[in-house]
């Protein structure tokens, strides 16, 4: 970590976004992570994505569990709300928060340990419930905070810093999410902002659960030769299945894509995701093909990245739709409707008898 606080310097050339804020206004406290940790880059990608989307920081809730990754909400969007919950329990707290105010953007930051070990059950049900949030797994293959034990995402054969070899099969959050009915499933890399930033933007605007599994190297415990989550290995092995650009509703699509090379998906709020074809001729709306692609890349020793699966439906498939939550934030409801009184409670209980 560094002990020098990033100074706030407002220089004349620093651009301002649609709500009059600079990138500096989207940053957070001084990071205490190791210098070079991928997680800091993800924080910076979130900063950039929110700034570009003109999202006011106070309209965001940031949620996390426990881990180096889960510490990061302190390092971005200092003006946002948030809660650093218990290990693996962030989805439950996020569910409560979103139930109370569905007009906010919810960004959950978790780790491979937090989501795939202790919090696996919580993670699975958040996907299944299609909770309306952006869920980021900063995946480094180890428990960084507790000094580098293999996590459940470590590949078979991957070597630890001291030389032990992992023999347990990894849990792939992408495949898990697709299986459980996830509607926006992507994989990216902390070292590739060109890919990551638009994915975060699209994920924020997606209605329902948006998962981005972000390979985010642990420079201290898992960036060596023999690791399959190092900077060098990820760069060498990642294969972008399809490149997604995000175009907000209000903006015109200015880039000219050669005919047949791009496909447009319209999102529920009128924004667009422009999918640029890559060599694989990949269709991210085909669930079976998506699973087959991820598995076959993995078998070939590669990492499939990009927007891997997308189901953008008109229906209220998310938690708010299925659970019938109220549109208005609870704080804005009049006291009488929040608390209809003892008589109403008695009547309700009578019906259940």
């Amino acid at each position: 970590m560094s002990f020098i606080r990033k100074p706030l310097i407002l220089h004349a050339d620093l651009p301002r976004n649609g709500v009059g804020l600079t990138l500096r206004d989207y940053e957070g406290g001084m990071s205490t992570l190791c210098a070079g940790c991928g997680h800091d880059s993800v924080s910076s990608a979130i900063v950039q994505a929110c700034w570009e989307l003109d999202i006011e920081p106070h309209r965001v809730v940031k949620m996390s569990g426990i881990g180096c990754s889960s510490k990061t909400p302190a390092y971005f969007l200092r003006g946002a709300h948030g809660m650093n919950s218990v290990h693996g329990r962030m989805p439950a707290v996020a569910t409560g928060a979103m139930g109370a105010n569905r007009r906010l953007y919810c960004i959950g930051v978790s780790g491979d340990g937090d989501s795939l070990s202790i919090g696996f059950g919580q993670f699975a049900h958040a996907v299944r419930r299609n909770l309306d949030m952006l869920y980021l797994i900063e995946n480094n293959g180890v428990y960084g905070l507790t000094k580098g034990q293999f996590s459940a995402s470590a590949d078979v054969g991957s070597k630890a810093k001291r030389g032990e070899v992992n023999r347990l099969r990894p849990i792939d959050p992408v495949l898990t999410a697709i299986t459980l009915g996830g509607t926006f499933v992507a994989r990216s890399f902390s070292g590739d902002k060109a890919q990551l930033v638009p994915l975060i933007q699209a994920g924020l605007r997606h209605r329902g659960f948006a998962l981005i599994d972000i390979i985010s190297p642990c420079v201290t415990f898992n960036d060596h030769e023999g690791s399959t989550k190092s900077y060098a290995y990820t760069r060498k092995s990642s294969r972008e299945a399809v490149h997604a650009d995000f175009v907000p509703a209000a903006e015109e699509i200015t880039v000219d894509y050669p005919a047949g090379d791009a496909r447009m998906v319209t999102m529920h709020d009128g924004s667009h995701i422009v999918l640029r074809k890559t060599a694989d001729d990949y269709d991210p709306t085909d669930r079976l093909a998506a699973m087959e692609h991820v598995e076959s890349r993995h078998a070939a020793g590669e990492i499939a990245t990009g927007l891997l699966y997308l189901e953008e439906s008109e229906d209220d498939q998310d938690m708010h739709g299925t659970a019938g939550t109220v549109e208005e934030p609870l704080v804005e409801l009049p006291f009488e409707s929040l608390n209809p009184g003892a008589a109403a409670l008695a009547e309700y209980q009578r019906r259940l008898r």
Binding site: S2, P7, L8, I9, L14, L23, G36, D40, Y231, A232
Partner: protein, 603 residues
């Protein structure tokens, strides 16, 4: 594009904006650091190495460093570099035992210096320690040149001037005061091994309009200031007009106020943005209630009964013609009453003492032909420097010329080629002290520029010699030093160490780093988060990085040298290293042969 060649000494030197802009390349950030540590003597000596007159320049330098200062690009005002120089001088102890030693046994070479201004004095300062016998001729009764005769004592007190001039004269210079050189030819016949001409630009420009020669109340600015400086003149009328709006005009108007002027106006031909005077000189004059009148062009002096009563001006208005050129037209004419007029419209060179048939060529504007590097004229062994070389400039340029001319004189006298000079050098040394420790104050301090206290308006007019500026005290200085951005602590990049983790890019507080696909410079400049559109500032481009072949970019424009990139880099691909710029002096040239060391050993 090709990797930036950081082995070129100029690359990192340019990053130190102030040092690069200083004609004598004073190591500004280093002396500011010394002041911060309370090492005023060291700060003074470091200054003296390059600019020779820290006490004088800390008051009156033209300070080209300040408009260049990075701080001015980051948040409004530059560091008060000049005023900090004065702090080093004001708060120093006796440093005489740290001045260069002069050998008793001379090296047998005799050099004549014409004029005792800052240019000649610098040459003497550089040559005396090498054992040269120096004879300096000065027409006036005191040394110092325009620093004494023209820069008023309320800006530059006499004792400050004397002390720093004496440091040089005490090295054993044979100063011949009241001795005007009337013939260079005759002087050359006296067999000097070299002659340096530092006679300045002594002729004030005149304004030949009707009435000019009909009154004795019309003065040439620099001559008038000289008469005041030597005490020949101690009064002026109540209503004074100064013609011209350069720095001489500012000294004239403020001097006039101290000699009895009540209503002093500076008359300018054009609008404020075309004024030649430095912003701070204008401020000081206006603080003293001098009125600056724009867009008035002189037509004639008005006399009644042979007495000057006023001056007639055309009031102008400026407009753009069809081709976009600025033109003026007269609105009307006005007469402004006055008792005295002072002309401050520029200076010319004059070399009445140089015969035109002694092998010393003159070119355009009747100026001697002088080499820009060696300062030699077309007659070998005769050198020029200061205002005499290329026209009026300022003290720090004269000092810079003096250093270079001294090298040439030394090499000429030793029979070496004067064009084969030592090149400038640059050394780097890491400032990393420990895991999170840097041996410089790298925290960005958002403080605003500290204001120099002035003597009260009432008090300062009591006497001509009351210095207006009080200078920073130790506390104000301690605040101001922290504004320096340490531009000499360079960000040095090792391409092969970078693992492209983006940590530096993300942490940089001014967004001046980026890792991007390679391309042409104009394309790369747009690839930064904040596009690098200040083309006067270099763009650093690394070689292809190991993992992706992309390149590291750094816009040098507004880097605040906070060291966060180096602090955040897991592989130490970025390091913070202090750059030492070496600008060779005559002693360095002499060091090559070791001759002068023998002389010094001999005492």
């Amino acid at each position: 594009m090709a990797r930036t060649d950081t082995s070129d000494p100029n690359y990192y030197h340019r990053v130190v904006d102030c040092q690069w802009a200083c004609p004598a390349h004073t190591d500004v950030p280093e002396y500011i650091r010394l002041i911060a540590q309370g090492r005023y003597d060291d700060a003074y000596m470091l200054n003296r190495e390059s600019n020779v007159f820290p006490g004088i320049l800390g008051r009156v330098c033209d300070r080209p460093c300040e408009p260049a200062c990075r701080r001015g690009r980051v948040d409004d005002k530059p560091v008060a570099i000049c005023r900090l120089k004065r702090v080093a001088a004001d708060l120093r102890d006796d440093i005489r035992d740290r001045l260069p030693l002069v050998p008793k046994q001379k090296n047998g070479k005799r050099v004549a210096l014409i004029g005792a201004g800052c240019a000649s004095l610098t040459v003497a300062n550089d040559l005396a320690p090498l054992g040269y016998e120096l004879t300096m001729f000065e027409q006036h009764a005191a040394p110092g040149g325009l620093m004494r005769t023209n820069i008023p004592a309320f800006r530059l007190p006499g004792d400050v001037l004397n002390e720093e001039i004496d440091y040089i004269l005490d090295m054993g210079v044979d100063l011949r005061l009241g001795t005007r050189i009337e013939s260079l030819g005759a002087l050359l016949e006296e067999g000097y091994d070299a002659v340096f001409i530092g006679t300045g630009a002594p002729r004030g420009k005149d304004l030949d309009i009707p009435g000019r020669h009909d009154s004795d109340r019309i003065h040439i600015g620099i001559d008038w200031l000289e008469s005041v400086a030597f005490g020949h003149l101690d009064a002026i009328g109540e209503r004074v007009l100064i013609i011209g709006v350069g720095n001489t005009a500012m000294d004239c108007c403020r001097t006039a106020l101290r000699l009895g002027g009540k209503d002093v106006k500076v008359m300018a031909r054009r609008g404020r943005k075309f004024f030649k005077a430095s912003e701070w000189e204008l401020e000081d004059a206006e603080e003293e209630r001098v009125e600056i009148v724009e867009n008035h062009s002189p037509i004639a002096f008005e006399l009644a009964d042979g007495k000057l009563v006023g001056m007639r001006f055309a009031r102008l208005e400026y407009y753009e013609d069809a081709s976009g050129k600025q033109r003026s037209r007269t609105i009307d004419e006005v007469v402004i009453p006055c008792d005295d007029v002072i002309l401050a419209i520029g200076q010319d060179n004059a070399f009445p003492f140089i015969e035109r048939d002694i092998g010393l060529e003159f070119g355009e504007w009747d100026m001697p032909v002088v080499d820009r590097v060696t300062f030699q004229s077309t007659r070998p062994g005769v050198f020029f420097g200061g205002d005499a070389a290329f026209g009026p400039e300022n003290i720090i340029w004269a000092v810079a010329h003096g250093h270079q001319a001294a090298i040439s004189i030394h090499k000429h006298c030793q029979g070496e080629s004067i064009t084969e000079r030592l090149p400038p050098t640059l050394n780097l040394g890491s400032r990393k002290m420990g895991i999170h420790e840097w041996s410089y104050s790298n925290d960005f301090d958002p403080k605003h520029r500290q204001v120099v206290p002035h003597v009260d308006l009432g008090e300062r007019f009591r006497q001509l010699s009351i210095e207006v500026e009080l200078g920073f005290d130790a506390n104000l200085a301690a605040a101001e030093v922290e504004r320096c951005l340490n531009c000499d602590i360079q960000t040095v990049f090792a391409d092969d160490l970078c693992i492209e983790c983006d940590a530096c890019v993300d942490i940089c507080p001014v967004d001046c780093l980026m890792i991007a696909a390679d391309g042409e410079e104009n394309v790369l400049r747009e690839r930064l988060k904040v596009p690098a559109r200040n083309l006067s500032q270099p763009l650093f481009v690394s070689g292809p990085l190991k993992q992706t072949g992309r390149v590291m970019l750094k816009d040098e424009n507004i880097c605040v040298h906070c060291g966060l990139c180096a602090e955040r880099c897991p592989t130490a691909a970025w390091d913070m290293q202090k750059s030492y710029v070496g600008i060779p002096k005559a002693t360095d040239e002499a060091d090559r042969t070791g001759e002068w060391k023998k002389l010094r050993k001999a005492g």
